[in-house]
């Protein structure tokens, strides 16, 4: 048994951490959160230059041709730095969809530019609040023309194209839709976590090309969500780890009643519980990575437990972070709310916790 990452993979992770410590301290996340820019362009260019965007894209399409274990290591570090770039949308979702289901022609058209960062992709699935299934999707494609609304779409305001789930002649299917065309109206939405942008996309007879087999959209979307869930679990894990470390450090340095706040058992025991949640999130994420990298039959189950535990751990730790900071934790000035917001952005992005729990029961 070797349920661990290899030395090479850990080295890759360390390189990513060093780079991000330098290029993406939390002040960069805050700059996007407070400013008008939708994402940090220099960091996006840097991620392309480091080869991260094309980690799992095959070499023949301009990528690095690594596996998902390597990508997981990078995702964890991006999560740790709360990197304000559309990495999840473009890499875990759009690139995965093309690698998995694209024709050679589609791969040639999109993958090289996804790998070098010239194009950004995203995944447009949900249409309205409360929607967690694909059966109720109403967007339609007829004669290669897409009409309908997708809301919210992560990075929909900055993406060049989207993988869109819509009902075609043979039922639910996935389509590639370029977003810079007259049949598409994009509206940027206010985000709970403004360090990540989201949009509403209205399609009115927009040109759409089939991705994957027609009528197989439900199965394909489900598989893509599983793949993205594993990778995003690493991003959540990285964020949770950073959040936990910062909280531990703060409570050690902050004094009350003549002693460090971290010496009170009410705080110690909660930190111990947070650590347990974090460790289990790590363990389940590793299991997901193992299942994804080997295309194991356990992937549907492994994706669920990775997603659920990562979401619960980050939710808990990010809200305890504020609580354990006291008053400063509630200020705009302190970074606690960056994690608190990101926790919910990542936790909602691929469908609610309840939806993943519901899926899991069918997959046990």
């Amino acid at each position: 048994m070797n349920f661990d990452f290899s030395d090479d993979q850990k080295l890759l992770q360390q390189t990513a951490r060093d780079y991000l410590t330098e290029q993406a301290p939390l002040s960069v996340c805050r700059e996007i959160l407070e400013g008008d820019q939708p994402f940090k362009k220099e960091l996006w260019a840097g991620a392309a230059e480091m080869g991260w965007l094309g980690t799992v894209i095959p070499e023949e399409y301009g990528g690095a041709g690594f596996g998902h274990l390597e990508l997981a290591m990078i995702a964890e570090e991006l999560g740790r730095s709360l990197a304000p770039i559309p990495f999840g949308s473009s890499v875990y979702c759009a690139s995965e969809a093309l690698i998995k289901a694209g024709t050679d022609e589609q791969k040639k058209k999109y993958l090289p530019q996804l790998a070098n960062g010239e194009r950004i992709g995203t995944f447009a699935l949900t249409e309205k609040p409360g929607q967690n299934d694909v059966e109720s999707i109403t967007a339609k494609v007829a004669g290669g023309q897409l009409s309908g609304t997708k809301m919210p779409v992560a990075d929909g305001d900055v993406a060049d194209f989207a993988v869109v789930a819509a009902v075609g002649d043979k039922g639910l299917s996935l389509y590639l839709v370029d977003l810079d065309q007259s049949g598409v109206r994009r509206t940027a939405l206010q985000a709970l976590d403004p360090s990540r942008s989201i949009a509403r996309l209205d399609f009115d007879n927009a040109e759409a090309t089939l991705l994957g087999e027609e009528g197989q959209g439900a199965a394909l979307a489900s598989n893509l969500l599983d793949r993205a869930a594993v990778l995003m679990a690493f991003e959540q894990l990285g964020a949770a780890q950073a959040c936990f470390e910062a909280t531990r450090e703060f409570t050690l340095g902050r004094y009350a009643f003549g002693r460090p706040v971290a010496s009170f058992q009410a705080i110690k025991h909660r930190l111990a519980d947070m650590w347990c949640e974090l460790e289990m999130a790590r363990s389940n994420a590793y299991y997901g990575a193992w299942a994804l990298s080997g295309e194991e039959p356990e992937l549907p189950m492994a994706a669920c437990i990775a997603r659920i535990q990562a979401t619960e751990a980050l939710d808990l730790i990010s809200l305890e972070m504020i609580q354990m900071h006291g008053g400063v934790g509630y200020t705009w000035e302190y970074d606690c709310h960056l994690f608190y917001r990101r926790a919910k952005a990542l936790g909602a992005a691929l469908g609610s916790l309840a939806a993943w729990k519901d899926k899991l029961v069918d997959r046990i």
């Binding site: 048994m1 070797n2 460790e279």
Partner: protein, 414 residues
Amino acid sequence: MDFNDTPEEAAFRAEARSWLDANADLKKAGDAAADVLGERATPEIVKQAQAWQKKKADGGWACLTWPKEYGGRGVTPIQNVIWNQEESRYNTPPNIFGIGLGMCGPTILTHGNEEQKKRWIPEMMTGQKIWCQLFSEPSAGSDLAGLRSTAVRDGDDWIVNGQKIWTTGAHFCEWGILVVRSDPNAAKHAGLTYFVVDMNSPGVEIRPITQINGGQGFNEVFFTDVRIPDSQRLDAVGNGWQVALTTLMNERASIGGGSGADFGELINLAKSVEINGRPALEDSAVRQQIARFYTRSKGVAMTGNRTLSALSQGKTPGPESSLGKLVGAKNAQDMAAFAMELQGAAGMTLDPNETPAQGEWQGRYLGIPGLRIAGGTDEILRNIISERVLGLPPESRADKGIAFKDIPTGPPSR
């Protein structure tokens, strides 16, 4: 990253499996669940367990990690885990030797002299002599070093007086490990000495204690002028705390400790009972709960796999392994309560003929509180994690730097 054995591990597993195939039957559905607290150890079961242990020892499959010169096999910890994984697939008598082989043996091997090792280890290994742990007292559990039983030197002997409590298996054990206070004027941890005691010595009285589930796995043990020869002292006088720490570290190292949770069973139950005229398994509140239990149970198991990988790389697992019992026992308790909740009013029955799964969930519900206390309570495990893993400040203490007899105390718990 993979779950495969290395070639050496695979060869070892195959060897273990072939011996087990020749000597035991594979488990099948309906076999009795593991008896972690030794509550069902009737004299008949004790005999069966001893016979199985003897067979293993004769075949060279007992105490695998112990040195060869004392009858062990000198294998790596990971090979030992492989053996445990394989053995657990077979229907074998309950393991009533956990305390002896998991804690007493390693302590004697670490702190005993040559004569002591030769005297106790072989009989322990073959299961012919069973051992118990006489640590806790009415006034000393979590705070073990607060114990009050005394030992006074008398020539070549020591004379022991006092009371031990919660002693699992004392009623079928020949030997016990015992920590007592040999110097009440010394500071708390400095006044302790560690002995091995013959449970049949005059002056030892064992009284069973009935647990909340009606079982009698543990006992109180009274010592009245019990003579223990000095040759049965482990390590130096006053060094008892160091020896006890070895025992307690081995208690933690006996990893595994799965929640015993069987999700097939829980899903079957949720299929067989109804909510609003439909199988409970279709109810969304039920699904949310099952998913949570499953995710946590996998979280514990996968964390265990990370520990095994560390073992496999030659590292020693430390206080991080406290996670397994802390999360696992509570999760198992919540699951049992939930399974009873699913049964509606029938949740209050225990009658095996009228209760789903023959009342197994109710049985677990009554048994699991013991798991959250034995071998370090949830709270003590949180202290261990916060102090030893996370490096947070220790508890402020009212018992430092003064003689033991001057430390404030309340009445004993029992």
